[in-house]
């Protein structure tokens, strides 16, 4: 039995057999094959090349109008490599001579070549290493595709173990069979963690070397409350955990009981609780947990896991279904917020050196108006079906608001031309998630109908920390005085301009921040559905007066540690069972 400690990112207990999956960062272990399997394996190599060439040729054709010759060159280079017979021969020879898997042969060969390149002093040549890694990835995707299907064709309950999980992979998990998740890498607010939470699957991350300690089929306990993973537990431990599991289910049940009760503080102030969703079918879960609407519909997932962009109909179907579940309750649809993440990086053949600060989100949309318009049309068409609002992400200045509104109006003109109905007075809001928009919120407030504070990104940008980087993820904290000061400014500016304001980042789902947020003036929170009952419990247990005191005290502190300790202590007094 081995006990490992990581970071708990999604609550719950699970006991199931391990299924190990390779992440897209491919560290292919050396696996041997039987001599009789060599021919099949060599054929797999050939097929992988064929598939990769086909994929690349398709992509090249789709980009034939690319103005940049640099992009055309990159395609040309990759295709020539894939057509290179001596490369293929080197790989198949390795399969044959050492009886290893196709994946191992591909990975080893290409990494050897890449390291040869990266040793060269000449920059032109050493840069080629990146191309080689890319080609390796492309071939491995072809080879591992069959393996990925294993996750899609589960027949029994499993615990997924991986080195790292991308949100794309996590989102594809079937809740019926995937009972628990554990990974070597990742942090509390990484996308994969967010997805695990919203799917309600217990998850523990940042275990560092879990994949080296587990074999497929081992029994694994995931304790998503305490951040513990136990491999091959003994009988006593299994029994213990089965009891914990029961207790946890009872607590959940208790929280469920307040579903019907309103989110009102002890001194009678109503707080609006909305849900954050990524898929339209999560709207039902929001209502089940007592949410009063959707405060953030993240539309990125419509674009992930596919080769082509979603059509207007596909957008519309998703939005229309969401609205029909929520009926006349508000739905805030956020336009595409992709970027600093695999989709746009794959689309761009000259990858950005710093995608986090690059052409992402609303900037990407304003440079790709055809794609943007498709989403806007669908949102507008859905706006007649209910209380639909539109929200633009990552706004940094007034011009972006202006441009986005201009395009929205142009799209409205088109719909008028085509006699298609839409809500002309649709409410338009923006995410405040950068220091620049937070500091100029007073002027932005004049031109929009509402703000929503994206505390995750606001924290990252303000503290200059990448929440997914386990080397620095402990520096990320929304209790940092700098972040809190910005949040307070935004709330004040919104109040002055008399526009609605809400918080939709992770902060809204953490009980220890609720008193602070309420005390700073927030009356609307949007959070992941599973946490709504607990947050409602918190709200029902406090008075706004107490919250104001808490906020006043906190805003006078200047150490993150002091603030987070204070908040945790204050929250524990109110709701001891949450800690």
């Amino acid at each position: 039995m081995e006990i490992k400690k990581g970071i708990a990112v999604s609550p719950g207990i699970s006991i199931a057999k391990a299924l190990i999956i390779d992440s897209e960062e491919y560290r292919i272990p050396r696996r041997s094959i039987k001599a009789s399997e060599r021919t099949t394996e060599i054929q797999r190599v050939r097929n992988a090349f064929k598939g990769a060439i086909g994929e690349l040729t398709e992509l090249e054709a789709a980009h034939s109008k690319a103005e940049s010759s640099k992009i055309k060159d990159i395609f040309a280079v990759h295709l020539r490599f894939l057509h290179d017979r001596s490369l293929r021969k080197r790989i198949t020879d390795l399969v044959h001579s050492e009886s290893v898997t196709a994946e191992y042969a591909v990975s080893t060969t290409l990494r050897e070549i890449a390291s040869h390149f990266s040793k060269e002093k000449d920059a032109y040549i050493s840069e080629r290493a990146a191309d080689i890694y890319d080609i390796e990835r492309r071939l491995l995707i072809q080879l591992l595709d069959r393996k990925r299907e294993d996750v899609g064709h589960l027949t029994e309950e499993v615990t997924i173990i991986a080195r790292e999980l991308s949100p794309i992979q996590t989102a594809g998990f079937n809740r019926k069979f995937v009972k628990g998740i554990a990974s070597d890498a990742g942090g509390r607010t990484s996308h994969a963690a967010i997805v695990a939470r919203s799917l309600g699957i217990p998850a523990v991350v940042a275990l560092e070397d879990l994949t080296e300690s587990v074999n497929g089929g081992d029994t694994v306990v995931i304790d998503g409350n305490r951040g513990i993973v136990i491999v091959n537990p003994d009988d006593q431990t299994i029994q213990q955990y089965q009891e914990y599991s029961k207790e946890f289910a009872e607590l959940e049940h208790k929280l469920d009981a307040i579903r019907e009760k309103p989110a009102v503080t002890r001194d009678g102030v109503k707080i609006t609780l909305l849900g954050n969703i990524e898929f339209h079918d999560e709207a039902e879960a929001v209502l089940q947990k007592g949410g009063e609407g959707v405060g953030l519909y993240r539309t990125e997932y419509l674009y992930l896991n596919r080769q082509t962009e979603p059509t207007e109909e596909e957008h519309y179907q998703a939005y229309a279904e969401t609205v029909s579940v929520l009926q006349d309750r508000p739905v805030v649809i956020r336009t595409l917020d992709l970027g600093a993440d695999k989709y746009t990086q794959r689309k761009r053949f000259a990858p950005e050196p710093n995608p986090f600060l690059g052409l992402r989100s609303i900037r990407f949309c304003l440079q790709n108006l055809m794609m943007f318009k498709t989403q806007l049309r669908a949102i507008l068409r859905a706006s007649v079906l209910g209380d639909v609002k539109i929200m633009f992400p990552l706004i940094t200045n007034l011009q972006e608001v202006m441009q986005a509104k201009m395009i929205l109006r142009d799209v409205m003109d088109d719909l008028d031309e085509e006699s298609i109905a839409f809500n002309r007075d649709i409410q338009i809001g923006i995410m405040i998630e950068t220091p620049s928009s937070a500091l100029t919120a007073f002027s932005l407030a004049r031109d929009v109908d509402f703000f929503s504070i994206g505390t995750n990104d606001l924290t990252q940008y303000t503290l200059a920390v990448d929440r997914g980087n386990e080397l620095v993820s402990t520096l990320y904290s929304s209790a940092d005085p700098a972040v809190l000061r910005l949040i307070r400014t935004v709330i004040q500016d919104a109040h002055k301009a008399q526009i609605d304001i809400s918080v939709c980042g992770e902060m809204a789902s953490e009980p220890e921040y609720i008193m602070l947020l309420l005390g700073m003036g927030i009356r609307t929170l949007s959070l992941t559905a599973p946490m709504i009952p607990e947050i409602k419990q918190m709200i029902r247990s406090v008075t706004v007066e107490d919250c104001n005191n808490v906020a006043r005290k906190v805003l006078g502190m200047n150490s993150e540690r002091q603030i987070s300790n204070y908040l945790r202590a204050a929250a524990r007094k109110i709701l001891p069972e949450a800690f």
Binding site: R80, H83, L87
Partner: protein, 102 residues
């Protein structure tokens, strides 16, 4: 240019060329070289002082990393050996891969 006929009636042609463009044999020139080489039947080997590579393989050619001023020997073996040597020599020394000289 030297042409020899060996006993199996295969033509062998050799020449030496100098890389004359400023940026040397980086990816784009290597691609052009390989594209031309692959248009012909002959086997093509390219060597600098240390290694010998297959002139039709982009992987091997790009590993040559020949900078401006480097001299390379090109050997072609096959029925169209003379033609391919001529085309390659033109590409490297006359056209400079369509790139600027230093």
């Amino acid at each position: 240019m030297q042409a020899e006929r060996d006993s199996l009636e295969k033509v062998v042609c050799e020449t030496e060329v100098e890389i004359k463009n400023a940026d040397g044999l980086h990816m784009r020139p290597a691609m052009q070289f390989v594209d031309i080489a692959n248009q012909f039947d002959s086997d093509i080997t390219v060597s600098n002082n240390e290694t010998e590579v297959d002139g039709k393989s982009i992987m091997q050619m790009s590993m040559l990393a020949a900078t401006c001023g480097t001299k390379l020997k090109i050997k072609a073996e096959g029925s169209d050996a003379a033609k391919v040597i001529g085309a390659l020599r033109e590409l490297v020394e006359e056209k400079l891969f369509g790139e600027p000289a230093p």
